[in-house]
């Protein structure tokens, strides 16, 4: 993607390696929704101590220190109270990260760091939306450059069809991809990142990268947390916190 095209994209990073499987650096995506608030997937931060995390904003290349990046520690992790996993599928897969202010402020809006809008309504099925992240690619390796792709919103009925996910989706989820010719999809390492849809030249966070059967498979599109189901939860949790 081009630098600044997804200025709300966040990279969740471990400050240090905890073991061979929990290595230092990027492990999940996130989305900046307010100066001090990043939305991500609950499964990304399960049993994670906020002190071990940092959030990078304005990043394009994970391997470089970039002059437009803004790094923050995490003050608090708020996981959805009804997050659960059944048959390895995450339900209500949403969490908020409260950033720790630096010099009295959190994210400073620039061309490369900007919050996304939260949706006020429903986008119809078949709408073209956008995914982005540093997750695994078709080479089996993750990318140090931020990548993006276009996907279509898929109806719940089609996605729950026997040939697809066979009723494993509930209303907290939505599907996006391309059932006929699967090419673009999110994958491991993209979790927590944004699925945005545009209206009147503004981008709205419509989904959070959550899960899927492998990646890029025919009939198995990406499954995203349906953000519109959690708008009240997001507002309430942010309002409950002192500024």
């Amino acid at each position: 993607t081009m630098t600044g095209k997804h200025p709300w994209q966040a990279s969740l990073q471990r400050k240090f390696s905890l073991n061979p499987f929990w290595q230092k650096g990027h492990f999940c995506g996130g989305t900046l929704i307010e100066a001090c608030w990043v939305l991500t997937a609950a499964h990304c931060i399960l049993r994670t101590d906020a002190r071990t995390l940092q959030v990078a904003l304005g990043k394009q290349d994970l391997d470089r220190r970039e002059y437009h990046e803004q790094m923050f520690d995490v003050e608090k992790i708020i996981k959805h109270g009804h997050y659960t996993e059944r048959d390895e599928i995450p339900y209500n897969d949403i969490a908020l990260l409260k950033l720790k202010p630096k010099n009295g402020h959190c994210a400073i809006e620039t061309k490369y760091v900007k919050s996304v809008c939260l949706p006020g309504g429903i986008f119809p099925d078949n709408t073209d939306c956008y995914i982005s992240g540093w997750g695994d690619t078709e080479t089996g390796e993750s990318s140090h450059q931020l990548l993006d792709a276009r996907v279509k919103l898929i109806s719940q009925m089609q996605c729950n069809a026997p040939s697809a996910y066979n009723n494993r989706l509930d209303e907290s989820m939505l599907c996006a991809g391309n059932l006929q010719r699967t090419r673009a999809d999110t994958c491991q390492g993209d979790s927590g990142g944004p699925l945005t849809c545009a209206k009147n030249r503004s981008y709205y966070l419509y989904g959070i990268v959550s899960w899927g059967d492998q990646c890029g498979l025919k009939n198995k599109p990406g499954v995203y947390t349906r953000v519109t189901r959690f708008l009240n939860w997001i507002r309430t949790k942010i309002q409950e916190e002192p500024n």
Partner: protein, 287 residues
Amino acid sequence: EHLTGTSTDSADDYYYEYGTEYAEAAQNDHGLDFDATDPDWFHEYLDYDENPCDTKPCQNNGSCERNRKSYTCHCPKPYTGSKCEKVQNTCKRINCHRGDCLVTVRAPYYRCSCRHPYKASFCDKAQSACQPNPCKNGGTCQRHRIRSKFSCKCPETFKGRFCEIGTEDCFKENGLTYRGNVSQTILHKTCLHWNSHLLLESNYNSFMEDADDHGLGDHNFCRNPDGDERPWCFVTTSNKLKWDFCDVSPCPASEFSKNTIMSTKSPTVDNIPRTCGKPETRSPIKR
């Protein structure tokens, strides 16, 4: 990333369970608790067996001293911070009366940049505004009623406060590579030096990473370090730090939008306009 917490006998699950368990307990040097029964491999990972100085963590020619598992950076002035990544405000106690205090990398690590016709180390003495003639390229100096005021009347092909800007001083495309000498904004405000102490908190100053590549240094010439639509610089208006596009012309063959915007480049949170969801990238580039 899917941590089920359920146990099966596969190798992956075994390690994932270790992962979650130790993530909670992982509290060593980083101010967190620590379990003495952790397996050896875990300690190895946390102990950073290698010399932490090997990764050259100290920036700006800071020297690294190993300190058991950690390190200490000894920073050359004016750099500071745990990795010498910050710049100390050496202007804190300096009063550059009619000028701006700049942070420099040589002793005494500051210098005053005086507004003409003020001079001397701290810009507190004025010389005659038009003697000697400060106007370049044949410009004539005109005195005003106030002793310190002056203006240069420039020959047609020159402009700038001192007629120092010729027609060849122009920018191509969006001015990313502009290295000319224009130092005034479209509203004719004089640009701040990129090493002004006022810019130390800004993302863009002569101490930022790759400052040389962006043409930033100990000067106040307009530049475009962030790929904006044309060269710009910081100015102060009513004691507030602002930025504005510069009064620099595009080179004859190039085109750009003539829009002018006055806004805060490195704003405080209070005056950030709410522009959620609107990226500012330009149209796709033709391949």
